[in-house]
């Protein structure tokens, strides 16, 4: 018997072999996808940073970065300091990695990776087009919300590992803020999910195809509109953007959790932040603004246009973000919490209730 | 007639209840209630008596009535009245004396703080005595027997502040109780055999021969025990002299006329139950009693005591009468004695009321101060001494005749007559001694003499009435006819001995009668003369003779040392026994109980002291070890939940290991 069972073990072990090559290809595809997404995210972040600079400059009636350029012919003519962010990126990459002596080195290292990885992981499910969804999860929306919570952990770790009071305070603020605003955000996402009946992002977009009037933002008026605004405000807070930029408030806590970061690690935070901006833009456009679908029904709704529409809508959102940043002053902590718990959350529930009742009563 | 009987019984009872509860608030403290009730009862009794006389038949049963009283299922106890000639006689005697005593008491007890209570007790007594007379069964008679004892107790101890009175009352009751127990045993024997208490049924059962022989003798003697107690016969006579501690009217009513006669009545009532042996026993007891009491009476100086011993003596006569077959004689003497002895007591009471002492030493010459008392007292004395033609003469003569007749048929028992005759002489002597010492001569205590006065009318009227009744020559014929000795034959008897006994006696009765009459007159005269010589003319010094006969005098003065004897034997033994038992109970039995507990404790102490090193060391070691273990194990109780979890898991692992391997 032992012989026999030993044979069985060998046979079982061998049975894996035929699948090995298959596995290998799968892994290769996965790595490729990851690289593409990372690149995309980095690129988008760079673009966003550049945009921010320009937008803020022009809003303040100035020009912003104008000098940095390349010698590459065509690109050279673009001008307007388009390579500024790229140069900054390089600068950051090349900078010395300063780790404070009192910091916890491992965590100090780990924290930006967590944040960045989480942001990138979220990109995996973003629908850029009908067939341009890197990973078409059934629970896509849910996944998005879930994965973004990694960011909080990363921020906290960063703040703590720096062994700096400002950092820790900033981290705590950030965490509290994110956790708080996650609730209205989630509830308003729920409104959409209820309306569509699916967690799948693709299906959500398909639900809205056929023109601007089918976008979810208009449906169940005014509840979805309300949900949209709530989600938008909450996303601002989650992104630590003005007027909810308390975790990074330079005048108070000297940039918060990433005070002690520089170089590459700082770059990762930085990138993650702007990638997140784009992420939020895509999510909002997907959930409320029809995602890849054209506002004109089937007109201009082929695959390339779908990507185009996504980017257009997302950057529109991002633009509003930037616009707000330079328009509104920073709120106080209590106002922040007040906004979350006493304004957004109740209205989010009202919205959900309204949609629910609507669905029960009318459909 | 039954209605009358019920009324006779209820009147005093109602009077008693009224007196005891509201007597104090009634006008005159309610003496009229009791007295009135008694006189009403007297009227009713006289009515019954007239009925009996009107029919004028021997042993006539006038009426009976029974009610079911206590029903046990298989056994019924009835309550009923039996009114025959004897009852009629007794009713009159009791009600008459009682009502006269009531009347007398109004004067005698005047001003007493417990005046109403006194009348209440008197009524209670009257009720009990009348009930005793009226009931038709042994159970009833026993009940009233005891109730009579109770009222006697209450009345003797009426002045309970005096220790002597309290003692006397207790003594009376307990002594009576002793007799009662015997009586109860007798009743138990009769009841266990016949299954009934009713006189008629018991008598019938005896006549049918269901009961007989030794058992009947024993039963009879036991029944007679009751009479011994109640009628103060030897050896239970000791209570009666002491009972003189009670108010004098009470002595007259209870301890002379009625209650003490209840024994005689009871024997008469149950006469057919007594076998010849039992009757002989009764006769001898009576004889001894008569003699002893008479001799003691000679030397006593307390007027009431003398009368008390006289009563005992006379009761002995009655018993002899009954015991020797003189049924009529015994009961007749009961009747006559009731009147003259009541008279004597009331007379003495009158004297005592006047001089406030009972010692004859302190009296004398009272004749002039209290003529009515003197003359009535003299009549009674003559009567008791058996002077022709007063009532006492007839009755005593009849008893002597009966005794003589019995002696003639049974020569071995001749001493009964002789002793009785002697006692008759002694009786005459000591009775006149009283008269002389009290009413004649010079007053020995001038102060008391000066204060003396004749008693009020309520007291003298009874004296007169009783004096008239004591004269009663006419009694004899009636009684002889109406109270004929009941023969068992009348119950269909075939008890041979009883019939024979009666028949023999009948033959000699006539001759005996004459002899007895003469001898008694002679003896009485001698006694009176001797008394006069000693105490009236004072030709012989009593004191000198007392000195000369010192041992006898002392012996008599100390009443044959009966009290001392009893104190030394029965009472002492009883008390000793009670103390012994109590000590036994406390020390031995309870001691065993407590000892069990103590033993355990002692044992452990012993163990402890011996094994201090070994066992205690081990114990201490165990204790220390446990303490050490505890202090170590205390660590387990860390308060740290993690430690607890670990221990629990450790246990789980252990369990698993054990279970698996």
């Amino acid at each position: 018997m032992p012989v026999l069972s030993a044979n069985h073990a060998v046979i079982n072990a061998l049975s894996i072999l035929p699948t090995f090559s298959e596995t290998l290809t799968n892994v290769l595809f996965m790595v490729l996808g990851a690289v593409i997404i990372t690149g995309l995210a980095a690129l988008l972040a760079l673009v966003s940073v550049y945009l921010e600079r320009k937008v803020s400059a022009h809003m303040q009636d100035r020009l912003g970065p104008m000098e940095v350029n390349t010698e590459i012919p065509i690109l050279k003519n673009i001008g307007h300091g388009w390579a500024q962010t790229l140069a900054d990126a390089f600068k950051l990459l090349l900078k010395e990695d300063i780790v404070p002596a009192a910091a916890d080195k491992k965590l100090h290292l780990l924290a930006p990776f967590i944040v960045f990885a989480a942001t990138l992981a979220a990109f995996a499910v973003l629908p850029f087009g009908r067939n341009l969804i890197p990973s078409d999860l059934n629970v896509g929306v849910f996944y998005l919300i879930a994965i973004s919570s990694f960011v909080v952990v990363g921020i906290i770790l960063a703040g703590w590992a720096s062994n700096n009071k400002w950092s820790l305070l900033g981290a705590m603020r950030s965490a509290a803020q994110i956790v708080s605003f996650e609730i209205p955000a989630s509830v308003s996402v729920l409104v959409v999910i209820m309306a569509v009946g699916s967690l799948n992002l693709g299906e959500i977009v398909e639900f809205q195809e056929g023109g601007i009037h089918r976008w979810l933002i208009w449906r169940f008026f005014p509840f979805n509109l309300l949900a949209f605004f709530i989600f938008f405000v909450a996303s601002l807070a989650e992104l630590n953007r003005a007027p909810f930029d308390l975790p990074e408030a330079e005048s108070e806590i000297i940039a918060g959790f990433h005070t002690e970061y520089s170089g590459m690690k700082f770059a990762m935070f930085f990138l993650a932040e702007y990638a997140n901006m784009f992420l939020v833009g895509v999510i909002i456009s997907t959930l409320f603004l029809g995602g890849w679908s054209s506002p004109f029904g089937s007109f201009l709704n082929s695959a390339p246009f779908q990507v185009f529409w996504v980017f257009v809508k997302s950057f529109a959102i991002i633009f509003v973000h930037m616009w707000l940043r330079w328009t509104l002053p920073r709120v106080r902590v209590d106002q922040l919490m007040y906004t979350s718990w006493k304004v957004l959350t109740p209205f989010a529930f009202v919205s959900m209730l309204g949609v629910g009742l609507w669905m029960i009563l009318i459909q | 007639m039954i209605t009358s009987a019920i009324l006779i019984l209820l009147l005093p009872l109602v009077a008693f209840i009224i007196q005891i509860f509201v007597g104090k608030r009634l006008p005159r403290k309610g003496d009229w209630v009791s007295t009135g009730a008694m006189f009403a009862a007297l009227a009713l009794s006289v009515g019954i008596f007239i009925d009996a006389v009107a029919q004028y038949e021997p042993n006539n049963v006038l009426a009976t009535a029974t009610w079911d009283w206590i029903n046990f299922g298989p056994v019924h106890v009835t309550f009923g009245f039996l009114i025959d000639n004897l009852t009629a006689f007794m009713l009159v005697v009791v009600t008459l004396v009682s009502s006269l005593v009531h009347l007398y008491s109004i004067g005698y007890m005047h001003g007493d703080p417990r005046y109403n209570r006194y009348f209440a007790y008197l009524s209670l007594f009257s009720f009990s005595m009348l009930g005793l007379v009226l009931v038709d069964n042994l159970f009833g008679i026993y009940i009233f027997w005891e109730l009579v004892g109770l009222s006697s107790y209450l009345l003797i101890g009426f002045w309970f502040e005096k220790d002597s009175a309290a003692n006397a009352s207790k003594k009376a009751f307990i002594t009576n109780r002793v007799g009662d127990v015997g009586m109860f045993a007798g009743i138990m024997i009769l009841f266990s055999i016949t299954g009934t208490f009713s006189f008629n049924e018991v008598f019938a059962a005896v006549a049918d021969g269901h009961v007989g022989g030794t058992l009947l003798t024993v039963a009879g003697i036991l029944l007679f025990f009751g009479a011994i107690g109640k009628s103060a016969q030897f050896p239970l006579h000791v209570w009666l002299p002491d009972a003189m501690e009670g108010p004098t009217p009470v002595s007259a009513l209870i301890h002379a006329a009625t209650m003490v006669a209840a024994g005689v009545y009871m024997v008469g009532r149950t006469f057919v139950l007594y076998t010849p042996d039992a009757l002989l026993f009764i006769a001898y007891i009576g004889t001894i009693t008569a003699f002893i009491a008479a001799t003691i009476a000679i030397v006593q100086m307390d007027i009431k005591r003398v009368l008390a011993y006289s009563t005992i003596s006379q009761l002995g006569y009655m018993m002899v009468g009954l015991g020797t077959g003189g049924y009529t004689a015994g009961l007749f003497h009961l009747t006559t004695h009731a009147f003259f002895k009541a008279l004597l007591f009331l007379g003495s009471g009158s004297v005592i009321h006047a001089v406030h002492t009972q010692e004859m030493d302190e009296m004398g010459g009272l004749r002039k101060k209290m003529p009515i008392t003197f003359w009535t007292f003299l009549i009674a004395t003559l009567s008791i001494s058996g002077v022709f033609p007063l009532s006492g003469f007839w009755s005593k003569d009849a008893i002597l005749a009966s005794a003589l007749g019995f002696g003639m048929t049974h020569p071995a028992h001749m001493p009964i007559f002789v002793v009785l005759l002697l006692s008759a002489g002694v009786t005459a002597f000591y009775m006149f001694r009283i008269v002389f010492l009290t009413f004649t001569g010079e007053p020995r205590d001038k102060k008391k003499y000066d204060h003396a006065h004749e008693s009020p009318l309520t007291m003298t009227i009874p004296l007169v009435v009783l004096a008239v009744l004591s004269v009663g020559t006419i009694w004899w014929g009636w009684v002889e006819h109406m109270l004929v000795k009941p023969e068992l034959a009348s119950y269909g008897s075939h008890v041979a001995s009883a019939v024979e006994h009666a028949a023999e006696e009948h033959g000699v009765a006539h001759s005996a009668h004459t002899i007895a009459m003469f001898s008694s007159v002679v003896v009485a005269t001698l006694g009176i003369l001797l008394s006069a010589v000693v105490y009236f003319w004072r030709k012989i010094s009593a004191d000198a003779w007392a000195e000369k006969l010192k041992p006898i005098h002392t012996f008599l003065w100390n009443k044959y040392y009966f009290d001392e004897l009893y104190a030394a034997t029965i009472i002492r033994v009883t008390l000793f026994k009670s103390r012994l038992f109590a000590a036994f109970d406390l020390k031995i039995i309870d001691g065993i109980v407590n000892g069990t507990g103590r033993l355990t404790a002692a044992f452990s102490r012993l163990q402890g002291s011996i094994d201090l090193r070994g066992v205690d060391g081990a114990v201490n070691f165990v204790a220390r070890f446990v303490g050490y273990l505890g202090s170590q194990l205390r660590g387990l109780q860390t308060g740290n939940i993690q430690a607890y979890i670990m221990m629990a898991l450790f246990a789980v692992v252990l369990l698993f290991v054990f279970q698996q391997f």
Binding site: I16, T19, E22, T23, N26, A102, A103, D104, K106, L107, L110, I114, L137, N138, V139, F142, Y143, I145, A146, I147, S148, S149, F150, V152, V153, I156, L157, W160, A161, N163, N164, K165, L168, M172, A175, V179, E182, L199 | Q642, A643, M646, L649, F650, V652, V653, F656, V657, Q660
Partner: protein, 161 residues
């Protein structure tokens, strides 16, 4: 492929759990826990429980872990890196743990499980939702109330004074 994924996730889970357990620093433990949760989520995915996996990530990482970190930071000297946790009774604990592990292994391997593997992956969310609203309605409601209670209770307990 699945098997490899399993081993990877299992390794990740156990390794990070080991970090969590054996690290002396509370924060390291938390980080270990983070990855453990992540690994477990991966395991869920392999077990065709996508909703549970996501819920795992969302609640454990986004909720519990954050709470834990908050707890650590609010209850320590805030800026000290030396956030150490000491251990006690390690040896007996190890014995017990190994014993329990042994028991579990023995039980698992000795038991004849009524295995009936499902090969298909199918979306679970709708099914779960249906179950929660039908068969498990009452537990669901109770858990809701429990959550509310815990929320209020926690807020009350944590309040100063």
């Amino acid at each position: 492929m699945q098997d490899i994924m399993f081993y990877m996730f299992a390794a990740l889970t156990i390794a990070s759990a080991g970090v969590m357990v054996f690290s002396r620093s509370v924060i390291y433990s938390a980080v270990g826990l983070l990855f453990t949760f992540f690994g477990v989520a991966g395991i869920y995915v392999l077990l065709a429980a996508d909703f549970v996996a996501v819920a795992q990530v969302m609640i454990y990482v986004g909720g519990i872990l954050v709470l834990l970190l908050f707890g650590v930071m609010l209850s320590q000297r805030v800026t000290g890196v030396n956030m150490r946790t000491e251990t006690l009774q390690t040896v007996p604990a190890a014995i017990v743990a190994v014993g329990v592990l042994f028991i579990l292994f023995r039980v698992i391997s000795k038991t004849e499980w009524l295995v009936k593997a499902k090969t298909t992956f199918e979306p679970t969310t709708a099914k779960l939702g249906t179950l929660l609203m039908t068969d498990y309605l009452i537990p669901f409601e109770i858990v809701s109330v429990l959550l509310l209670g815990a929320l209020i209770g926690a807020a009350f307990i944590a309040r100063k004074g």
